[in-house]
Subunit: 256 residues, 2 copies
């Protein structure tokens, strides 16, 4: 049984890509066949795994415009059970191309249908916006993880994200639910971090993961070596946090 | 002589709003009449100054759709020489409304014409995207400050931003130039911080400000009290950094 999880929050720089890369890697280390799909034109999940897509190679852009199957874009990574569907800056053009298409929000969902059964987990990284790319990801997903940075502005844009999720549930994907809210870049020395965490817990109640991702220098260094944290520095706090998140995500299956 | 400076970078969370608020506040403390214009639907510059706009009050949205003059939206702040044109989440609708209008990229520029002479500096905060709102800001500006976060992904999206600036220079605003590149969230304990700073300096040469904004907990706390850093904690490193940036921006005028 395959589960598709989207990492979504239109606020920039909150840890979507860091979560997508490291959650996928930790699931793969637990020998769960995992696919990471990069739907952000900035292609940070792609470069964060040390992969570069040239203009000739097919990527998620060709999948969404219907010019290639997902299978044709698959890349291996350093982890046996982790594969990647890469992105490229040309994906910026997809928002405009998709607008005129039939069932434009369904393109990713349709493409994933064919290969879904090969993976236990499919993780989708989104851009920092609520346009057609994120709508495609929300429509393709079974559930969403919402990273919330433990900083002042973090709670302000949430209303808009929840509205968009409700809209997608009503019109495009009735099964979509919120898998969990993940507190990121938590710094126990900062009073504000604790305040934001408390506010998020009182708003989202038990949907906030017990695992809190702490601010950790090694996490911000790992992508420059093209490696997930578990391969860059397995002893770090960052690796510890994402391993514990992967456990919570896997335990969630037993419960539901 | 009035100068309009836009703070732009489509990458999320790099310090655009923190720079817009604190640079404006430090210019105002130096008794230069300053206007801060919030063009981001998330309205972080508005809430970061402790201002809240209700659905009845006019804001930048009504200015861009032509339903109100800029003068009608002005708010006073705790600093005598700083005024704000606030934003509101309803600005999200402006991108769609503007698409069909004549000279849609010129709306902000036209609105600023009438009140420009009242201010020595006009600082514009942008959303993390390169859509019509940012295009309006780039078209209205004399120059752009590009904040670059000293982290791995920071240099990846720059090509796209520079392309957009060149496009605006060619077709909408030939006078637009890059005022400077500002290194933000620099952490001297992180090797990567130094690497990104070196790469930015070798690429942008003397357009990188000598002032580097260091990562500083007090900077991330200040907006939750609705105050710029100079009023929240004038002794902090963050206040020091932004005062020195304001000096560089003011000295720039003498040179050019
Ligand atoms: N727990 C953490 N500790 C330290 N740095 C972190 C942490 N999580 C993320 N970062 C760093 O913060 C920056 C933003 O994170 P990331 O790119 O994952 O956010 P994002 O939400 O994907 O951003 P965007 O909205 O641009 O896609 C990156 O430079 C990343 O390396
Ligand atoms: N020098 C700094 N030290 C510590 N925290 C900082 C610093 N600069 C910004 N921050 C914090 O980092 C987060 C992102 O900064 P900010 O909101 O200014 O970025 P932005 O580019 O405006 O984001 P967006 O793309 O969402 O508009 C905020 O929570 C802010 O308080
Ligand atoms: Mg990202
Ligand atoms: Mg901002």
């Amino acid at each position: 049984m395959s589960r598709t999880i989207v990492i979504a929050n239109q606020k920039g720089g909150v840890g979507k890509t860091t979560t997508a890369i490291n959650l996928s890697a930790c699931l793969a280390v637990a020998e769960e066949p995992t696919l990471l799909v990069d739907v952000d034109p900035q292609a940070n999940a792609t470069s964060g795994l040390g992969i570069e897509v040239g203009p000739e190679m097919e990527c998620i852009y060709e999948v969404l415009t219907g010019d290639a199957s997902l299978g044709a874009t698959l890349h291996h990574t350093e982890l046996a059970h982790l594969q990647l569907v890469p992105s490229h800056i040309r994906l910026i053009g997809a928002e405009v191309e998709l607008v005129g298409m039939q069932a434009r929000e369904m393109q990713l969902r349709k493409a994933l249908e064919r290969i879904k059964s090969d993976y236990r987990y499919i993780i989708i990284d989104c851009p920092p916006s609520l346009g057609l790319l994120t709508l495609n990801a929300l429509t393709a997903a079974d559930s969403a993880i919402i990273p919330i940075q433990c900083e002042y502005y973090a709670l302000e844009g949430l209303g808009q994200l929840l509205n968009t999720i409700r809209l997608v549930q009503r019109r495009l994907n009735p099964n979509l639910r919120i898998e969990g809210v993940l507190l990121t870049m938590f710094d126990s020395r900062v009073r504000l971090s604790k305040q934001v965490a408390e506010e998020a817990r009182s708003f989202f109640k038990d949907r906030v993961y017990r695992t809190v991702i702490r601010r950790n220098i090694r996490l911000s260094e790992a992508p420059s070596f093209g490696k997930p944290i578990i391969l860059y520095d397995a002893q770090s706090m960052g690796a510890d946090n994402y391993l514990s998140l992967a456990k919570e995500v896997m335990n969630h299956d037993e419960e539901s």
